[in-house]
């Protein structure tokens, strides 16, 4: 089973929300769509789900063209940012509704619901209303609703953005295991690059409705094709030096080294982060961020140097990478 998008676009009025979307993901793949808010990543998901009409291009699931089909006919499992659980129904009834609509036998329904509740450790919550559940439990119910119909494709729209940071970290490995176990193409939308790197084996960086780069997380980090991608991935953010000759030189904070023959800098501020410390430096080339060992006592004035091989060069006008 594969999900295949060919030159997909959506246009409202005379404005393209997303355009030229093209990728293919297989059974064991999880693709993360990341980008700033309003970049079109959620729209992409809605197009695949069939919630919004496609203006050009085609979408195929397992070789079948589904471009013109309704969401119901596409065999999609989707988890929404707000979980979209019906507040007036219990967990059991929320899971049952979709099966009831599809005329699944009553006995069969109960078995399937019980199985998925067991899988997600929700068995003792079956008769609760969503409002009586914690955020993490609600998220699992939303996931259970997607799993129960055994769909061909999973779409997850910022499924963890409503959870607090600590809970998110706890749920991430569990969610990753569950999704990978299904052996189905999965798309994961998030604005959090860290989450994208943790969950997905491929990441597509989207901006202004276009995919800028689609690759494995490590390749994106090591080999960004544009300034936007370089700045989007990696925290603390990549250092951009003052442009010269229409070129921007960018260097990752961890690649900066102290060297008395290097660029003279002045310490602006420091953040102690536990296992590292982050230094903010001012220099004639612009402000720099630098990662250091936490025990290091930084002087007011210092000199930094970096290996030009590890720096990236971008065109100032287009933001494209210069090899």
């Amino acid at each position: 089973m594969t999900l295949h998008l060919q030159n997909v676009g959506r246009c409202i009025g005379n404005q393209w929300i997303v355009r030229h979307l093209a990728f293919q993901i297989g059974n064991d793949e999880c693709l993360a769509l990341v980008g700033p808010s309003g970049c079109g990543k959620s729209t992409t998901l809605r197009l695949i789900a069939g919630l919004d009409p496609v203006s050009e291009g085609s979408i195929a699931i397992g070789g079948h063209d589904v471009t013109k089909l309704t969401p119901a006919e596409r065999s999609i499992g989707m988890v929404f940012q707000s979980y979209a659980l019906l507040p007036h129904l219990s967990v059991f009834e929320n899971l049952e509704l979709g099966l009831k609509i599809r005329n699944v036998q009553c006995k069969d329904r109960s078995i399937r619901i019980q199985r998925v509740l067991d899988l997600l450790q929700l068995s003792d919550r079956a008769s609760h209303r969503p409002a009586q559940l914690s955020g993490g439990q609600r998220q699992r119910v939303a996931l259970a609703r997607a799993l129960i119909r055994d769909p061909e494709v999973y779409l997850l729209d910022e499924p963890m953005s409503n959870l607090d940071a600590q809970l998110r970290e706890g749920i991430r490995p569990e969610l990753r295991r569950l999704v990978l176990e299904q052996q189905k193409p999965t798309i994961y939308v998030t604005h959090d690059q860290h989450e994208a790197m943790a969950m997905a084996n491929k990441i597509a960086i989207i901006n202004h409705g276009q995919i800028l780069q689609l690759d494995t997380p490590i390749n994106l980090y090591k080999n960004p094709n544009s300034l936007f991608v370089a700045q989007f991935l990696g925290r603390p953010q990549i250092n951009c030096l003052k442009p010269s000759d229409n070129q921007i030189q960018a260097i990752r904070p961890e690649d900066l080294k102290f060297d008395d023959s290097g660029l003279p800098c002045r310490l602006l501020s420091r953040e102690w982060l536990g296992n590292t410390q982050l230094l903010y430096l001012a220099s004639s080339e612009g402000d720099l961020r630098m990662i250091m060992d936490p025990s290091f006592e930084c002087p007011e004035r210092l000199f930094v140097r970096w290996d030009p091989q590890k720096a990236f060069y971008f065109d100032r006008e287009t933001g494209k990478r210069i090899p």
Binding site: A49, L51, P71, S82, A84, I101, R149
Partner: protein, 271 residues
């Protein structure tokens, strides 16, 4: 602070004093009404209530007619307004704003000016003297308010709920049944009660459409008593009728004061 505390009893007296006077009148004999300070052999009586309840047609008949017209027009209003307001909440901004402006204009319109044309319609289509037919103009006149209130309710629902249901495979009708209607139930309640109150109290159209005395609604029946003559109105029986006619509404207001106020204010906030 003292002003604040004394305003509440003042407000209650202001609102209820005329009703209390009607209540008092309804139990007084005619002699006691004309000469309240003289000594009377009999001061209190239930005769007014007896005459009202035993009149032809009996007074409860009017209550039933108003109830019937009210319930029917509320149902018809909802059947028309629910799909329309769902549609309005989904239409693009510009069209929706235009239609809403139109609705506000219609809601502002003093509908009493329409009675002549509606009377002609009733004559032409032989709709006079039918409480069922009466609910048609009532439902139509209630559309602006009902559609505006329900559109606000639909627009306030998170769109993801309906998206999730579409992915689950629910058709539009199933979404209405399982998701939309249960979730906007509070708005439906306040809309229904406001439409019901309008229909129950409506006067000019009922006055011109209904002439058969067994089909009169409460407001028209009340006004008929007044119409006889300015000076010889039977105030005792009339006060009894006022009391009887007010009780259902007072109960209704007591039971539904919250949805009434929330309906009225949600209209005001968004309008």
């Amino acid at each position: 602070m003292k002003m604040n505390r004394s305003i509440i009893p003042l407000l209650i007296i202001w609102s209820l004093a005329p009703l209390v006077w009607q209540l008092y009148t309804s139990f007084c004999t005619d002699q006691a009404l004309v000469m309240p300070f003289a000594e009377h052999a009999q001061r209190w009586t239930l005769a007014h209530y007896q005459s009202v309840l035993n009149s032809d047609p009996p007074f409860l008949n009017y209550l039933f007619n108003s109830l019937f017209a009210g319930v029917l027009s509320t149902l018809l209003t909802l059947i028309l307004a629910l799909p329309a307001s769902y549609s309005l909440s989904k239409l693009n901004q510009r069209t929706a704003t235009l239609i809403k402006a139109l609705l506000i204009g219609c809601a502002l319109f003093p509908y009493v000016l329409l009675f002549l044309a509606l009377l002609e319609v009733a004559r032409f289509l032989q709709l006079g003297n039918s409480l069922i037919a009466l609910s048609i103009p009532y439902a139509a006149l209630s559309q602006p308010l009902a559609v505006l209130l329900l559109t606000n309710a639909f627009a306030d629902l998170p769109t993801e709920l309906e998206d999730a249901a579409r992915v689950e495979g629910l058709t539009l009708l199933q979404r209405f049944r399982w998701i939309l209607l249960p979730l906007i139930a509070p708005a439906i309640a306040s809309t229904s009660i406001l439409v019901f109150l309008f229909s129950w109290n409506e006067y000019p159209i009922a006055l011109t459409w209904i002439s058969d005395s067994s089909k009169l609604t409460l407001p028209v029946a009340m006004a008929r008593i007044a119409g006889s003559s300015i000076h010889s109105v039977p105030y005792g029986p009339y006060a009894a009728a006022t009391v009887l006619g007010s009780i259902p509404l007072i109960l209704l207001v007591m039971a539904f004061q919250k949805p009434i106020v929330s309906g009225l204010t949600s209209g005001a906030v968004k309008g």
